[in-house]
């Protein structure tokens, strides 16, 4: 799908809004996962405001493209994307993680039916995505299913069970996005279990593989366009990102995987995001 400069500006604005909300929501909650929300913001903006076919006025549309946030801890970014897209009418984003809120600490499809899956126990989203892609094939529907994985999440064996099956069955209506921000909870990914060579791993499982800068809007769009045209293989986009992207003191900091900004930090973060 072509993307003009006005659309690029819109996508950048939406990514900024997702980042702002991710900081505000986690700061308000006093807990949560800002780092991986900020790293995924550009990818989510492109998915929800350019790539995916969906209709906020008709969330149950059977032909909608599906998105599963398998790295469920980055849900502040997903809630923000949904909100910016016009879902979550009447939901106060500042109730994240608070008692009675549909915005659970990790995505809960039962409390927030617009979500495609409940996630938060890592490694499972790709399998669920396979089920949706398979149903599309069975029913002759042409929707696509997108699953976003964390890099640390790729430690989970189930990711590779799913990758093997989808590759073997040539599920070309399924795409995975790895938010490769290089940091997991305890340390840098390289220090815990190095995923490299990551491209080769997916390729060996019969996936179409692209590696991109996950903060370059045009490159992200190109990658999704290219992926959608691939036949006979599921596609993975390995998005090289920066944990905490957009807020200088959060960038590449292991701490901000799972620690919310303080009120002071929030003020600084928002000022930086607004300047960018």
């Amino acid at each position: 799908m072509p993307c003009d400069s006005a659309k690029l500006e819109l996508l950048k604005d939406k990514a900024r809004a997702i980042r702002r909300w991710s900081c505000i929501m986690t700061a308000e909650a006093g807990s949560g996962h800002p780092g991986g929300s900020l790293s995924a913001a550009d990818l989510l903006a492109v998915l929800y405001f350019h790539v995916m076919r969906h209709d906020p006025a008709n969330p149950g549309w059977p032909d909608r493209d599906r998105f599963i946030l398998s790295k469920g801890h980055a849900c502040p970014a997903l809630y923000a994307a949904l909100y910016e897209a016009g879902y979550l009418k009447g939901v106060d984003l500042k109730t994240l993680r608070k008692l009675g809120s549909p915005l659970q600490g990790h995505p809960d499809k039962r409390k927030l039916p617009v979500l495609e899956a409940s996630t938060g126990s890592l490694g499972q989203g790709l399998s669920v995505g396979i089920g949706m892609a398979l149903a599309a094939k069975m029913d002759g529907r042409n929707y696509r299913t997108y699953v976003m994985l964390g890099d640390g999440e790729c430690d989970e064996g189930q990711v590779w069970e799913a990758a093997m099956w989808a590759g073997a069955k040539k599920l070309d209506n399924l795409a995975a996005i790895v938010d490769y921000n290089k940091i997991q909870l305890d340390d840098f990914v390289k220090a815990i279990v190095d995923l490299e060579p990551l491209e080769d791993k997916w390729r060996a499982f019969n996936w179409d593989v692209q590696s991109i800068d996950g903060h370059d809007m045009e490159k992200i769009i190109e990658a999704f366009d290219r992926a959608a045209a691939v036949r006979g293989k599921p596609q993975v986009i390995i998005a090289h990102t920066i944990k905490g992207k957009g807020v200088s003191f959060m960038e590449n900091k292991v701490k901000f995987h799972g620690v919310a900004p303080t009120k002071d930090e929030l003020t600084k973060a928002l000022a930086e995001l607004d300047r960018a």
């Binding site: 039962r110 996630t119 499972q124 399998s127 669920v128 949706m132 189930q158 799913a162 093997m164 099956w165």
Partner: protein, 318 residues
Amino acid sequence: MPKTEFPTGKATRDAYGKALLRLGKEMPELVVLDADLSKSTRTSKFQEAFPDRFFNIGIAEANMAGIAAGLASSGKVPFISSFACFLMNKAFDQLRMCVAYPNVNVKVAVTHAGISIGEDGPSQQGIEDVALALALPGFAVLVPADETAAEELVVAAAKHVGPAFIRLGRAEAPKVYREGEKFQIGGSKILRDGTDATIVANGLLVAEAAKAAGILEDEGLSVCVVDAYSVSPLDETALAAAARKTGAVVVAEEHLLDGGLGSRVAMALARLCPVPMEFVGLDNTYAESGGPQELLEKYRLTAPWIAEAARRAVSRKK
């Protein structure tokens, strides 16, 4: 006179295969997934009849449960099958996260439950699967005694909106019920009435419970036998009525004592009608390789042991 002996029937897994064929014709949305055990679980029958609606996921139970959740979220009614131990133990978190927690319409039909699978030994014997299924909020948990019950309960599970677990066996099962007998989620069956004690059982041990009642009858004890095939929801009303009438209860199951039918019945009766209770099941142990009947005898799951437990319960009556 109530029966104490039953003719040998088909294994409950065979009834599952048969039920799937029946359902496949009625329900175009029904799909079946297996993890490389389709010949043993009998889902291969469905595959032959409906190849486009059968998916072999390979030896990857966790992936299978997740895929089923995605299919169910897209309007399909998936049955997933493997051995009880593999599916419940290896895919428990996926059943928790992707099925129970979002309340997705997936049916889990496990075979080779219990120690009566025999020679393959403890690594293949599901003895904790009911406890795990009961630890999934919202799941219907069903343990049929014979082929008739199994076929009817598979159909009931398919038509039920919400997750369900059905426990099936490898061994040929005594034919306890006549064809056409009706079963429902939340129900139970009273095989025989009695006044001195109640034996509550399910699965393969229903027939053993009936035998035990025969042994006790010869000793002058009148024993009620209840098939609690629906462990969750449990037919608490029927169980409380039986406990009230007889004043002593034995629960027998081919499962670890911890967390299975016995604990569910005890929890219900502690609240509704506390009476002396005894329990027959695997007591804090794994079994071993051996013939099915030899194992049931060695691990004290047969009629004489159930009768002995009933005598103990009766002796504790005030």
